[in-house]
């Protein structure tokens, strides 16, 4: 049976203190760069909110996105989101399986038609349906059926947002993103491999508070989290500006915490909140741990050349092409040189000696 009491009633049941709840709302407001008074607005809205039905569809995914959201070694604010929504379908977290799970999904869809949220992680193969199916229903059909009555779709992770790893060359399964298939529903892309858990939480909180998706960039990502690049907020930025670069892993520069541009860091072209929000409850992020950013929240980040090639360097072999071009250039020069010398010779042979009569 679906449990749709208000969030306030639910929190009271769970024994979550008002203090903890307000702390959560303040954190969310701050994360989304909303004005200070909004925390109260969020609190008042959430208390009264009916917990919306959320159907989580998993396709070609590694479950990393779910792990990011749920894995914690101590209770985190992120997990509170599960108190705010009614998660009616989730392969990893649900108790039911098989036809019982599908029945739960269909019931949630029917009872909340037009109002439920669909969360998707994993890419969808449009090649042979054999690549992915739930109970005989292909992923494509599954997605298209489920989103029919959705209010909005949240594509969690780079796979759902942009195609991700399965989409990398040569894309044997024909993997595509949610927005490649669904054109008639509002979609928000929360990219990242995996995304920062607080981002997922923040988007849901925003939706619950304001009833609509936050402002999105041209790739459908919430601007409040993806509006700046890692480079913009990286703590190693002063070293970049001073020209202090690590030349190899664990060299002196690396140990001094210098910029890793030369080791292939994609920070400058990657939009995400890693440099400020960080991971594991604000513990660290890849650069802080000594490895350059992979650019995992950007489309096609797997096909953007080596992770260790600096952004200013080419991603393909130039030397061979150049060598071939040199040979070709020499060949053309010889061919045309022969022709031009022949032209000169013809002019010389046709030369009529000049005499005074010509003057």
């Amino acid at each position: 049976m679906m449990d749709h009491e208000t969030l306030g009633e639910r929190l009271a049941q769970q024994g979550v203190s008002r203090r903890a709840f307000l702390k959560f709302c303040t954190a969310m407001a701050s994360l989304m760069a909303l004005p200070p008074g909004t925390a109260t607005a969020i609190a008042e809205a959430l208390i009264k909110a009916r917990r919306p039905s959320v159907i989580w569809l998993s396709f070609q995914e590694c479950t990393g996105c779910t792990e990011s959201l749920t894995r914690s070694y101590s209770p985190t604010l992120e997990s509170l989101i599960f108190d705010m929504i009614s998660l009616d379908y989730h392969h990893t977290l649900q108790a039911a399986s098989g036809t019982a799970a599908e029945a739960a999904r269909e019931t949630a869809m029917k009872e909340n038609y037009g109002k439920y949220l669909v969360v998707v992680d994993g890419s969808i193969p449009i090649g042979n349906p054999g690549y992915g199916a739930h109970g005989g229903v292909s992923f494509v059909d599954h997605l298209q059926q489920t989103v029919k009555g959705a209010a909005a779709i949240i594509a969690v992770g780079t796979c759902a947002a942009f195609g991700g790893i399965p989409n990398a060359k040569p894309n044997p399964t024909g993997a595509v993103s949610v927005s490649d298939l669904i054109k008639d529903k509002p979609i928000i892309n929360i990219s990242g491999c995996p995304p920062i858990p607080a981002v997922i939480t923040g988007v849901l909180a925003h939706y619950l508070t304001f009833g609509e998706l936050p402002e999105l960039d041209e790739l459908g990502r919430p601007k409040s989290f993806y509006g700046q690049t890692i480079h913009d907020r990286c703590y190693r930025r002063p070293f970049y500006d001073q020209g202090k670069f690590a030349k190899s892993f664990d060299d002196e520069g690396a140990r001094n915490g210098w910029c890793m541009f030369e080791l292939g860091c994609k920070g400058p072209t990657t939009h995400n909140a890693c440099a400020t929000t960080k991971w594991n409850g604000g513990t660290s992020f890849p650069i802080e741990s000594g490895h350059g950013c992979l650019g995992c929240s950007e489309p096609h980040f797997w096909d953007a050349g080596s992770f260790y090639t600096p952004l200013s360097a080419p991603t393909v072999n130039i030397a061979t092409i150049a060598a071939g071009a040199a040979v070709a250039g020499a060949g053309i020069a010889v061919a045309l040189g022969v022709a031009d010398r022949a032209k000169k010779r013809r002019a010389q042979q046709a030369h009529e000696k000049m005499t005074v009569k010509d003057l």
Partner: protein, 219 residues
């Protein structure tokens, strides 16, 4: 094509194409010019050709035969441009990263602040030279559309480079795409315009020195 794909293109096939055109074009140009050949000189030489030719290659860079203020202006500002351009191209860390992948060796970079100064001086020199080209009667007579086209193609990488470096204009990713694109356009144009002088100057100066050296004159 999204921004990421555009970036992959300019860092990938786009650069391959530009490099191929540049290398093919320059090799063709240099070799084709030399292959036209010279008539054998039957006069008794007073001096050699190779030594004097090589001498003129470097000496022409430092001599200034009785220059007027106008001449001094052209040469000094011209040097600011050339040196500034080379310093910006060869001693910015990110450029050395690029060149290292092509040449398999690198060299120490100069502090980024110095490069910014060099780039700004280069841009200033280019603007001064453009104004001169518009206002000086000699240059107005002998200039053609190619002079203005090559100026623009040389100016754009400098301008977009400074914008990229200082965070002016578009975001980093878009500015990087624009900057690399302007470089690729420049590479493609070089062999087919007066910019080929970056290589042909050496052979032209050699011929000049050789012709004079044959007669025993050091120029």
């Amino acid at each position: 094509m999204d921004t990421q794909q555009l970036m992959d293109f300019v860092r990938g096939p786009g650069l391959q194409f530009a490099a191929a055109v540049f290398v093919l074009g320059m090799v063709y140009r240099m070799l084709h010019l030399i292959l036209l050949g010279r008539k054998k000189n039957l006069a008794e030489p007073r001096g050699g050709e190779w030594g004097p030719g090589l001498r003129t290659i470097w000496h022409r860079s430092i001599q200034s035969v009785g220059l007027t203020p106008r001449g001094h202006f052209i040469i000094i500002v011209g040097y600011v441009f050339h040196f500034g351009f080379l310093i910006t191209l060869l001693f910015l860390s990110q450029h050395i990263d690029l060149l290292r992948t092509l040449l398999r060796f690198g060299w120490p970079a100069l502090p980024p602040g110095l490069i910014t100064i060099a780039a700004i001086l280069t841009i200033g020199a280019m603007i001064a030279l453009l104004v001169h080209r518009f206002t000086d009667p000699v240059k107005r007579l002998i200039s053609d559309y190619q002079d203005y086209l090559t100026w623009t193609l040389t100016f754009l990488p400098l301008l977009t480079g400074i914008m990229l470096k200082q965070g002016i204009g578009l975001g980093y990713q878009q500015m990087l795409i624009v900057h690399i694109t302007t470089v690729e356009l420049l590479l493609i144009a070089i062999p087919f315009t007066k910019l080929a002088h970056m290589l042909t100057t050496f052979s032209a100066r050699w011929y000049n020195g050789a012709i004079a050296g044959y007669k025993g004159v050091k120029v």
